[in-house]
Symmetry: C2
Subunit: 320 residues, 2 copies
């Protein structure tokens, strides 16, 4: 396989067309329904037309389908957080029982938060079912690194995912990454994941983890993500840097999700990204790291502006 450019890597993750790419965008939208709030005021996600057929049985009591407007909305009766969350939880359980969607084989028993345009919490929903409705999901990623010295280049801690994982087995990853389940906060999730995935002590993370921003992209799921291809998955990842040194604790596999941690110099990391060996969204987060650390610059990357802009995509749905 020829080497991927950094923009190729971004395009693998930010794969839903943009409104300014009018023909590709309208071709995509032709096959999608908008998932709307009960009052039709918020577009919370995009749903495949093929999924709509599987959901028509809930019309109009639970979900209201309008084929002319290409919308599917929560029925007006579900006008509180509690009512919506209960109804949607029942739906997800029924989908799982009936084997309606492949993605639910990855059932997590973990709730994700969904927001209204005002950014109020609107309902919560089983994590593995979010992509059925194209809902925005949130995660936190941290990259542990040892800065360049006079004698050594910048090095990054890179784990290889276990070969037995159902999603992206054997691929490279960010030092630690995890989804933000309701009702946990960003930093609490980071501390928990750093302990579970890398054996990092909470005290180390509190002292050394630095919030550095967020990335966002609109992902069109492929088979490698597990389950159906074509589901929409807009994602936001809060990003953190973890500056370490030679004497710092090293990450170690704890929960069987990680096979091994490598301490790789930046050139090796870039080669592995170009070879397509990183899980795509963690390649994007790593490219953001390399930009913020002055490795990828406007002078050495012809696609610099498009990359920076696309890894901070304006998602068309309400965010937290």
């Amino acid at each position: 396989m020829p080497a991927l450019t950094n923009l190729d890597v971004i395009a693998l993750v930010d794969s839903f067309p943009y409104p300014h790419d009018a023909s590709a965008y309208s071709a995509s939208l032709a096959h999608l329904y908008k998932f709307m709030s009960h009052d039709l005021k918020g577009n919370l996600g995009y749903v495949l037309a093929s999924t709509i057929e599987k959901l028509r049985v809930y019309h109009p009591e639970k979900l209201v389908i309008d084929d002319l407007d290409q919308t599917i909305s929560i029925a007006p009766a579900f006008d509180t957080f509690e009512k919506r969350t209960k109804m949607m939880a029942d739906l997800a359980l029924e989908w799982r029982k009936e084997g309606k969607f492949e993605v639910l084989k990855g059932w997590r028993e973990e709730q994700y938060a969904v927001y209204y345009p005002s950014r109020e919490l609107y309902f919560t929903f089983e994590r593995s079912a979010c992509s059925v409705l194209g809902l925005v999901t949130y995660g936190v990623h941290i990259i542990g690194y040892i800065p360049a010295t006079d004698t050594a280049p910048l090095r990054l801690w890179v784990p290889r995912r276990s070969k037995t994982k159902s999603t992206y087995p054997g691929m490279l990853d960010n030092t630690v990454a995890g989804g933000i389940g309701y009702p946990y906060g960003v930093f609490d999730t980071l501390i928990k994941e750093c302990g579970e995935e890398a054996g990092f002590d909470a005290q180390l993370i509190k002292e050394r983890a630095k919030s550095v921003g967020s990335v966002s992209y609109h992902y069109l799921r492929t088979a490698a993500a597990g389950g159906e291809s074509g589901f929409l998955q807009p994602e936001v990842q809060y990003t953190y840097d973890l500056e370490l040194d030679e004497s710092s604790p090293k990450p170690k596999p704890v929960d069987g999700e990680v096979e091994e941690f490598y301490l790789w110099d930046v050139d090796t990391v870039r080669q592995e990204i170009a070879a397509g060996n990183f899980k795509p969204n963690t390649a994007l987060v790593t490219i953001d790291f390399l930009i913020r650390h002055g490795i990828i610059t406007a002078e050495n990357e012809p696609d610099f502006l498009e990359i920076v802009s696309r890894m901070h995509r304006q998602i068309e749905h309400p965010l937290k």
Copy 2:
């Protein structure tokens, strides 16, 4: 004046409506014409309907106006870089001579590059006239800072603009900032501006300036920018960090553009941003700095995601 939130500050700069805000967006577009390439393949900027009336005299020999499509395009005959650049240079000179537009009182005698959708150079144009046609412009901003120590907080070098400047007199600014004129590169411009505006030696900048990304926003000009209100000005700023220490050279006013440089702790900088004392786009660049340095985080800033996304806006026109 009540304190501005960080999002208020961003909204002052990124003031053109978004497509997903459908009613505000279409209301804005109703008064705008698209400035199109000679082959109608690229939308290079937005032009006020009131400007179109002043340009109608050039129809159809130089500029072709289509009132039905609300477009103004370069006439098909101007099918090379050289022809377009010459014709547009003559237009700008004529506008200046006739006093057609207020913004040309700030004539710079400096060319800015305009790009085609393929990112090829399409023509160059007098800097002060770019906002007449809503063209994308590019700059470079650097923030000089001294990191926090055990005994002192993070401090930033903040200049106050001369009270005699025609634009944003007396306001606070980034340590050094400047527009990227054709045919200069990003880093060459940075070195030149660092010398001219702050007396920084080229060697210091080569050793210490770190490329950290870019920001972008779509600005609707106000009177404070000089000249007409309402012109569109989409901008891209390449961002650099300059880590200094107590023994580093200090910035000093050189060319009369800066009244004084302050070394302010981060709390003072944040208060001045909230008080509206920064030039708006430099407040945005400073907020990006504070996010990358872990000062503004998802935990302490309720508008975090909207701020990060909007300061990396996807511009609707071709970029470099």
